[in-house]
Amino acid sequence: MNYFLYPYIFLLFPILLLFIIIILVINRFKGYIEEELLGEIRIISPALKIVKLLFSKIINSVEIIIIFLSIYLLTIMASFTTSYTYSMKTINLDGEQYLFDVIGVSNTIDVIDKIRFTNYTITIIQVFNTITLNINNESLFSYPLLIECSNSVESISNTSKDIEMLMDLCKFLENHKIILNIDLAKLLQEITIGNSRYNVIGMDIKPLLNIKFIPSLYIVHSIGSIGGTAIKLEDINKLAIFRFSRDNIEILCKDECNVKIVVLYIESKIKESSMLNNIINEYKNIFDYVIVRHNSVGTIYSNIFVPTYESLIGFLLLIIISVIILLLLSGGLIEKLTYIVSKLWSIGISKELYNASVIFTLIITFIFAGIPIAIGNYIGWLNSFGFLTYISISIISIAILSTQLTRRIHIAKPPQGPSFTYITDNYMDVEKVKRCLTHSLQNDDLFYLNESEVLKNSKYFVLRLEMIYRRALSTIVSSEIYVDSYDNLWKYLIDIDIWSIEELSSRETKYITSLALSKIYGGLSLCLET
């Protein structure tokens, strides 16, 4: 019952509000595209205008509203029902020294505030910001390593030599003391970092170079491995060991701190399984990854969450539900768009352009609709799995809807042929016909009348019109109207020829021809009948 109080459900209301605002805005600009007068020849494709038209038609339909409501509900549901688990990997540690029971590794310095230093822990901080040591007027760069052991770690017996060495280091390290390799320590008594001075202690720390917890994770600075070879600090003289304290951290990390924090938990002689489990659970929440050793098997738990199988099944179900709803509603959406498709078809829009426009429109629509989901995800109302679900459903929706919407174009009626005969008993002088046609085609939005002339023959007249198709770069339509008379009847045979330097497909040529024919026929019939 507590779920009622959960804020997720309130996401629905801002989404609905946004949707209503979009519809109102679209409604306000409805009809704008059709009313706009076309200008002179432009290289700009009319695709954007088609996108605008399709967008306004799609967004106004009840089908798309139901589709989006469903998708929002599915997204919220996906966000709710997701459960994550830690990603887990096992590694073989057979033959490796028993140095730890649990290790926590992190790459952020903030972790030190969260670590609860329990018994039997050793903290190692590899600082990747170098310090400069001045030896005989020469500068030597060193990588600081900060170490701290909890007090009771000394009570652990039967541990390995390496751990004992770490414990020895802890004993020697105090505030304002630094351990360097014995060779280097002979040359330095004291070093200064910032305003702090450190007394140098010399020790044989060379064995530290080879202490590794798991392959590619060493006690000294390491950044992983390439092709099985670990990339780690190889020169022991470049290692400077400090005691882990906040003061030292502040001195060594002035601006930014590039570190790797390794916390070892070593189980005591008395096996406390509940304690170990608590440590594992605690470390899982703090560190980037946690390694737990059980004899010769190491288990790496990463804090990269992966969805459970149950969540994936749920995700699959949601996808199927969205497909069902889409298939149901796409039919209604297509019916509404058929009228526009026929209109676009008749003005010579090619199938490819229409397909591209439909896909682009759908992408824009889904991007707009995804904004509330993205905001919800950003402010934490929805989780990233919900957002992923929205993206997946959007891609599937775009694929299904665009397939359905583009398939419909085959149903549109093909335009008529390239010639037409018009017979009338109304006589009009051919010069007057020319003037009338010129006038009717003067402000045409699709064709620019380039040339018009009358060719006279003893038997018939030829009225020739040359027009430039405005929506292409160089497509010229030449029409010849043969005027002939039989008794009291006048016959006008309109013949269209098209010429273009563009690579027009046969379908496009056919459309432009039909378009020109219908324009001339319309103009001619208007001139002769009125």
Binding site: F4, I9, I66, L69, S70, F80, T81, I320, I321, I325
Partner: protein, 134 residues
């Protein structure tokens, strides 16, 4: 005659594509209710199943209009028409109702509440469709 008409409307409803999708949806709904048993999922599935019924009606809009027009042409009474429309619409939500009912075996009393709400909303929807067509 009423019985014949109701049987015919049931048969006709099964022919429509919307009912087929509603059956698939109800299977998904059942699995979902089985997997996730919490209140918020129930509320969302309730809203989703209502949308599903609306979507299936929209998909079969032409069939429904044709069916009601035919019934009008044969001079059927309004009350009978209402009953037949309700039957026609309920058939497509029948499987969704079955999914809720089976879900009630696993879930709490909330499923019954969802079932009741679903039935009521579908009834209101039937009334709207009938008045819209007429």
């Amino acid at each position: 005659m009423l019985r014949d008409l109701i049987l015919k409307s049931i048969r006709y409803s099964f022919y429509c594509i919307g009912t087929h999708y509603a059956i698939v949806f109800s299977i998904m709904l059942y699995i979902y209710l089985y997997l996730y048993r919490n209140t918020i999922v129930l509320i969302i599935t309730l809203a989703l199943s209502i949308l599903m019924v609306i979507a299936s009606i929209l998909a079969d809009r032409r069939n429904i209009v044709q069916f009601i027009n035919v019934l009008n042409l044969v001079g059927i009474r309004r009350r009978v028409l209402l009953v037949i429309t309700i039957v026609f619409i309920y058939i497509r939500s029948l499987f969704i109702i079955i999914a809720y009912s089976i879900g009630a075996l696993y879930n709490s009393i909330m499923v019954f509440l969802a079932l009741f709400t679903h039935l009521t909303l579908i009834f209101i929807l039937s009334l709207i469709i009938k008045s819209g067509v007429l």
